[in-house]
């Protein structure tokens, strides 16, 4: 498993696409921090990037790589190696490479310019988003047969999670505004990794405004560590569950 992961990481480093991604992130972050003296404002801008670019690149890159390495996978399957180890090895290799890119591109500048509770939350949230979208990419790849369909599905997942979902939530809120929606809102948030990550960062950035909310359940949720613990654990589930589903599909799949 770890051997496979090692070969994949070496291969990814050789291909330079991920290096370009790292440089892109690093440039954006550094420019944002240098152009504005207000660190908090910089973190807000980076949050937006983390919520849009990071999931997109994670899911598309992982899907593409999975399909490009199809022949390698077939070769491995013909060897006496468990299918479970093959897929997990691939997941480990790809996700750790993308995570590495995120660490170098975002965590490093943030640590240098804005090492605070907010900064650390941003790093953790971004890292977990990377993992969950890589995981989702594996689900999308094993679910589909050919590359174009796989990338199409991956793109749809990203579009849904990053943009459409919030619009639907807003619509839902407008439609049912007469009802008590507090519990429903917490459940709705849990259903989208991007929203979860955003809430984690909000708990640091906009706590003043969040504390102004009149609903008791929300206040409780936001006021204590419960909110953060909840978001982190839900994001963990998002990083593990799709890969487990993919594993199930992959073990029975006719390659």
């Amino acid at each position: 498993m770890f051997k496979i992961a090692k070969y994949i990481i070496l291969d990814i480093i050789r291909s330079k696409v991920l290096i370009a991604y790292t440089l892109l992130l690093a440039t954006i972050c550094t420019v944002i921090f240098l152009s504005d003296s207000d660190v908090i404002k910089g973190l807000v801008s980076i949050t937006t990037i983390v919520m849009i670019i990071v999931p997109l690149v994670s899911i598309i890159y992982a899907t593409t790589y999975y399909f490009n390495a199809a022949e390698f996978t077939e070769l491995l399957v013909s060897q006496p190696i468990k299918r479970r180890d093959i897929l997990l090895g691939e997941y480990l290799g790809i996700s750790s490479s993308i995570l590495g890119a995120f660490v170098l591109g975002v965590c490093l500048p943030v640590a240098l310019f804005a090492l605070s509770a907010t900064g650390i939350t941003l790093m953790v949230a971004g890292g977990l988003v990377t993992l969950s979208f890589t995981s989702l990419a594996f689900w999308a790849s094993t679910k589909t047969r050919d590359k174009s369909k796989g990338i199409g599905l991956a793109l749809m997942i990203w579009f849904y999670a990053a943009i459409v979902y919030d619009a639907l939530v807003l619509l839902f809120l407008f439609t049912f505004s007469d009802y008590p929606l507090e519990k429903a809102m917490i459940v709705l948030t849990a259903l989208n990794p991007v929203d979860l990550a955003r809430i984690m960062i909000l708990l640091e950035l906009d706590i003043s405004a969040l504390m102004g909310y009149t609903g008791a359940l929300y206040r409780q949720f936001f006021g204590s560590g419960t909110g953060i613990a909840f978001s982190v654990s839900m994001l963990f589930i998002w990083s593990v569950l799709p890969v487990l589903l993919a594993l199930k599909i992959f073990s029975k799949k006719d390659l």
């Binding site: 807003l170 906009d206 969040l210 504390m211 909310y213």
Partner: protein, 411 residues
Amino acid sequence: MKRILLICLFAVAVTVASHARTLVVAVNTALPDLKAAVAEAADGDTIKVKKGYYYSYNTLITKRLTIIGDGYPVLDANYKEEVVTILANGVTFSGFVLKNSKTGSMRDYAGIRLHKVHNVTISNNRLINNFFGIYLSDCDHVSVIGNTTSGTGTELTAGNGIHAWQCHDVIIMNNYSTRHRDGIYFEFVKKSRIISNTSERNFRYGLHFMFSDDDLYQKNTFRNNGSGVAVMYSKRIRMFDNLFIENWGSSIYGLLLKDITRSQIVGNRFVRNTTGIYMEGCNLMTANNNTFINNGWAMRILANCENGRFERNNFESNSFDVTTNGVLNLNKFDQNYWDKYEGYDLNKDGTGDVPYRPVSLYAQIMEQIPQSVMLMRSFMVNLLDKVERAIPSLTPESVKDINPKMKPWTR
């Protein structure tokens, strides 16, 4: 003739002065407590109280005395009465620890009560666990300087730290108030000054004005109170250079203004409050040169406010800059710095060329559906706000800053 008169006056003064005595109170002496010393003393005398523990069940100060505690002697009312009541003009009361006044719902028991007096100075006392701290009624020209007062700390039996009723020309300076209902409370108090005090962790307000006109409060700090400051039904209040910090919670405000007119809010700092300033029914207000940092809502101005002017303020890292519940036709925003401003400055004069609209669409949505707090800073919300800024249709047209600054004002 005039000279003789002067000499006579001088002679009288000297005799009076030579008659002024200093009485020393100490445990196990002829003067074992303050009450005995006051009975013994005459107008103009000085009473020195040595370090020690004394019980004081509403000691009445009925003569013009200077009363000084030496090494902070303790006066304890043992929950039976008030501690000290001052009923004479010209008293100076300084350097005591006053403890454990009675609490009750019928009377306002206090650590130090002043009634119908003037020219009294209360300084450098420490009040601990009293119902009310220092209570002024019907007084004028009184100074309350350098005292600390810590209340009962339970919400039901908490009175105000420094309470003034029906007074004028009072100075409240360098005091510290905590664990009370209101840190400082003014009712029908005119022409008074509140300077350099700190008020924190009080249950209701750090500072509370009711029906008090022409007052000034300056350089005070209000931290983590139920609300920072509430100014209600008052006129011509000047609020200068104060710090409002971390007043957090639902319906909790840094500065709550209700039905006040012609008041000035200048040079204050609002940091990490849920709502920086909340205004309801305020007329002819000016808020200039203030700084709002990291608040949930920097300003919430209800539509019944008229003729307000908000100029040269800095708005930085607030979740929402300005919100309202209607239109703000008669209020003017000018030359403020807004960190969310995205306009341009072609002629490089430091002023943006397109107006800034501080009320965002998302703020309007929050107004109607508070649950949408969950969507804060999401891509969708940013998109909606951008579209609304480009083509305003739902946000109030009237609320705009025509000359937004490109750089924050330096202070």
